[in-house]
Symmetry: C2
Subunit: 265 residues, 2 copies
């Protein structure tokens, strides 16, 4: 039986301010909660049917997770989903280690793999989907601009489909982050006036910058882009078709091509 | 100045039942409304600032569109967007011509290009994004199963970013639609146990079936798939990464590869 206080605390976590104050976020769905329990994340509380709690008691006890039996009609009051799942977890937001911040400000910081940099992605579904895409294509790190939507927004968490447990996501001032990397590795960015993605040489390392949904890559970041690329459209010319692709879709098409090249070698 | 009746009529169109009763849907945003005005769609009403109405008066008059001056605070009451746009249109849902239905039941119906078939796509953002992807990659037709989310759901309309005016979208019983096409053209479908997309021969014609977000391609459609394909992941093995890609993302990666091959020839 949930108390009014619990319901209020859980639903408050849909708002960034309350997530920041409490250092907690919510995640829903059996698979998602299971992945979080098996990850570096610390799950504070789980709301689930009695049967699920009993079945997972050993793990919950070992991890010190507080479990509360929750009935479907109670879940409807705390779930943010249109179709509530039977299981909801309250999870601790990890404290960013200053170590990474330190590394990234060093001039000799080296990008030896592919990294995604997101320049103000605003749509929660897009950010979550991009994290999932990164996970699929073996990209371990996503660096977000400070105005990118919050990773712990429930819609972002759900759209990652569990990939939030495997991909490292950090928030940075992208200019300050890119500055010491100048000349160290290629920085790719999608532009309507870029070179055809399919005829350009693509390596196994570098940074791929993904622009904001409406304005693309910002003017302040454009000077850092060393390789402007373009996903070719097909069929009728400009004016007769879509002006652009959705940000997460463009990310996937670009990452797929980098990985296809690597596999073809 | 909007009347209570207008506000009620417009907001009711967020619900499928009322869209079906009235034969109307809503679309928001200046670019979207402009594309609809220039398309085969019939725009019934436009809600916009006086300046926009005056600037577009010739076209509105010629097309017989009723225009109502709408202030920002009024727009907040009718808009379904988090950040309301200044312009909203009420548009007629086109009446499907029976001609196409007729053609598609003929045994000699021929698919001479690429066509997408959506097997119960439920997320509005996914359907809208898939229509936008189809538009970008020059795929003129998308055939949806009867349980696919409604094209005229406002979230779908917005996610198409105007591509709804260029791509033909139809709803069909996919089994009945595919039956007479057996042996006529390749039918591609993404399966976790499929062949590597990048090492398979891909032609310029055929049907690409996209499965539902949670269960993939349904058992009843599987027998129609003649070419099972798979988008290869990269990096750590299964268990160490995402189980799948988002439906619209997978659609884009597959369509991009079909078009890359065509361009390489």
């Amino acid at each position: 039986m949930l108390s009014q206080g619990q319901i209020k605390q859980i639903t408050s976590l849909r708002v960034k301010k309350f997530r920041e104050e409490s250092g907690l976020f919510i995640a829903e769905g059996e698979k998602m909660v299971q992945e979080l329990l098996n990850s570096r994340y610390r799950v504070a509380e789980v709301y689930a049917p009695a049967a699920w709690i009993v079945a997972n008691l050993a793990q919950l006890t070992q991890l010190g997770v507080k479990a509360t039996e929750t009935l479907p009609r109670e879940m409807e009051r705390i779930s943010g989903l249109t179709t509530p799942s039977p299981i909801l977890a309250v999870v601790e937001i990890p404290i960013s280690t200053s170590a990474h911040h330190h590394i990234s400000t060093l001039a000799h910081y080296h990008i030896s793999t592919l990294t995604l940099a997101l320049d103000d992605i605003r749509d929660p579904g897009n950010l979550g989907t991009i994290v999932r895409v990164a996970d699929w294509f073996g990209i371990g790190e996503v660096v977000c601009s400070e105005h990118t939507v919050d990773l712990y927004n429930p819609k972002v968490v759900q759209a990652t489909m569990g990939s939030i447990t495997r991909v490292r996501v950090e928030y940075r001032n992208l200019q300050a982050w890119l500055e010491p990397l100048r000349g160290q590795c290629p920085v790719y960015g999608a532009f309507l006036q870029g070179e055809n993605l399919y005829s350009e040489p693509l390596g196994m390392e570098g940074i791929i910058v993904i622009g904001n949904e409406s304005r693309g890559i910002s003017k302040t970041l454009e000077p850092f882009i060393t390789r402007k690329i373009y996903i070719p459209a097909f069929g009728p010319g400009a004016g007769g078709r879509a002006e652009s692709l959705n940000a997460s879709v463009a990310t996937a098409v670009i990452c797929a091509e980098f990985r296809r090249r690597a596999m073809m070698q």
